[in-house]
Amino acid sequence: MEISITDAFYKDKQKALIALYRVVDPELFVNIVDLGLVYGIDFAREKSIEVTMTLSTPHCPMGEAITMGVRNVLSIEFPASKIEVKLVFDPKWDHWMMSEEGRRQLGI
């Protein structure tokens, strides 16, 4: 996920993204940002953050742990905001969505 420097919420989005690096997929041992699971972070609504993300597979047994991790890290960074996680499967996750670092960690 890339954040434009001209984005009105650049600083907040950058802060949120750095926090999301702390959420690790317990099955793959790689953080969700490098895995390419985070599609977007929306600060448009006041006191609310909406993270649009996916899972490596729709029936991922660790899905709830991951979305809970997202809520947890963002609640720490933005205690006054309501955190919402929107799971989507379109586009479907694929390995090319991973960062170089994510690929390196998975040995691709």
Partner: protein, 419 residues
């Protein structure tokens, strides 16, 4: 809110007892092998061997599969398990039923204890079928996996029902045909119906998930389903009406073709996987597959061989090779995640927490694998060559494997939260 349902796994009290109890049954099974190694020499229809087979099939295999299915079905079908209470009830019925049945075989007390034990297991199988039907039945996606899982549960009910009739027949003979011929039909309904179809259905969903693999050959899986079921239905129908004849090879070929199609699909997933580093547990899957293929190759030897040892070697590869290998490995791909989800899920991202992989002792699992290979090889050779000392030695190694497995399972189940 999430667009789909995730994390629908049932509470751990409907899952963990199955894993813990199965581990104890595995230990008991290896104890039986130590106490009565001569049961594996001679005819297969003898009390101690029947007790061992039912310990392996029900206390060990079915027990752990029930637990794993209750955990995985909601995940695969993206919906809640239909009923957690009847899942727990099936645990008690299966446990007590298996204990009664195994004891009655070991002591060869035909009659009410044996029939009663079988009846408890039948109720457990029916409750399992209800849970599977109600959970997977309304699942819109993954229709092939759903077919495999539902049909395996139906085959389990049929297998146990036939088993009860055989138990009744031992005390009050009423079956017009040969008891041993019907026993073969009962055994293969369990092996090719219950175990094979459940393993095929679950693995065709989980292996791509574990390996992050994709395959364009998923459309092959319905072929695997129809071939396996056609072969099995023809085998049972013909076997019941006309006895076991050389036509058994035709039916075996159909089932084997279904197995090969499934394995080709898994191979395609493996070839197209994203996760290049293969975890240690997948070695067990390789051994399990090899043991299944060896078992299939042994069938002509059982049919033509005058010696009963081929049938026992076949049983060794089926129960202690194919089924046990997949359980010994996959336990540590499922159980740590189940426990981790309960103990650490809510803390993810808040504080430093151990990962699921760190909940069990990896070096113990490595040793377990080495001893397992030694135990399986020695036992198969010992049975084949009629070498009592080899069977006895393998019994000791099996007991050690079971002890290592039990230890690791208990380490995970009784893991205390560390933060």
């Amino acid at each position: 809110m999430p667009a789909i349902n995730i994390g629908k796994a049932p509470k751990n009290n409907a899952v963990l007892p199955f894993y813990g109890t199965a581990a104890v049954f595995f230990l008991v099974l290896t104890g039986m092998l130590l106490v009565s190694p001569t049961a594996l020499v001679g005819h297969y229809f003898q009390p101690h061997l029947l007790a061992m087979v039912h310990t392996a099939a029900l206390g060990w295999g079915t027990m752990v599969i029930f637990g794993a299915s209750y955990q995985l079905l909601p995940v695969i079908c993206e919906r809640d398990l239909y009923n957690t209470s009847i899942a727990l009830l099936s645990y008690f019925l299966l446990t007590f039923g298996a204990v009664l049945l195994i004891l009655s075989f070991w002591l060869f007390r035909t009659g009410m204890t044996m029939i009663g034990g079988g009846s408890l297991i039948l109720i457990a199988a029916l409750l399992y079928l209800v849970n599977v039907w109600k959970t997977a039945g309304s699942c819109k996606k993954y229709s092939v996996q759903r077919c495999f899982i539902i049909s395996s549960a139906i085959w389990l009910v049929l297998t146990v029902s036939a088993g009860i009739l055989l138990a009744v027949n031992l005390r009050y003979p009423f079956i017009p045909g040969n008891h041993l011929e019907i026993l073969k039909l009962h055994a293969h309904a369990g092996l090719a119906g219950w175990f094979l179809q459940l393993i095929v259905g679950v693995s065709s969903k989980l292996v791509p998930m574990f390996l992050l693999g994709r395959s364009t050959r998923e459309k092959w899986l319905p072929w695997a389903f129809w071939l396996q079921n056609a072969g099995l239905i023809l085998f049972i129908g013909d076997g019941y009406l006309n006895g076991i004849t050389s036509r058994v090879f035709l039916y075996e070929m159909l089932i084997a073709a279904g197995v090969v199609v499934w394995l080709l699909y898994l191979h395609d997933v493996y070839k197209n996987r994203v996760k290049k580093k293969i975890e240690f547990q997948m070695k067990y899957v390789f051994i399990s597959t090899l043991a299944l293929l060896i078992s299939l190759l042994l069938i002509p030897a059982i049919y033509y061989g005058a010696d009963h040892q081929w049938a026992i070697v076949y049983g060794v590869f089926v129960f202690l090779g194919w089924i046990s290998a997949v359980i010994l490995g996959m336990t540590f791909k499922t159980l740590p995640f189940i426990v981790w989800n309960e103990r650490y899920k809510s803390m993810n991202g808040k504080v430093k927490i151990p990962m699921p992989k760190q909940l069990y002792k990896e070096h113990v699992l490595n040793w377990q694998f080495r001893y397992y290979i030694a135990a399986l090889t020695l036992l198969a050779l010992g049975v084949l060559l009629h070498l009592g000392i080899m069977i006895r030695t393998s019994g000791l190694i099996w007991a050690f494997v079971a002890a290592l497995y039990c230890y690791n399972v208990m380490v995970v189940i009784f893991h205390k939260r560390r933060v």
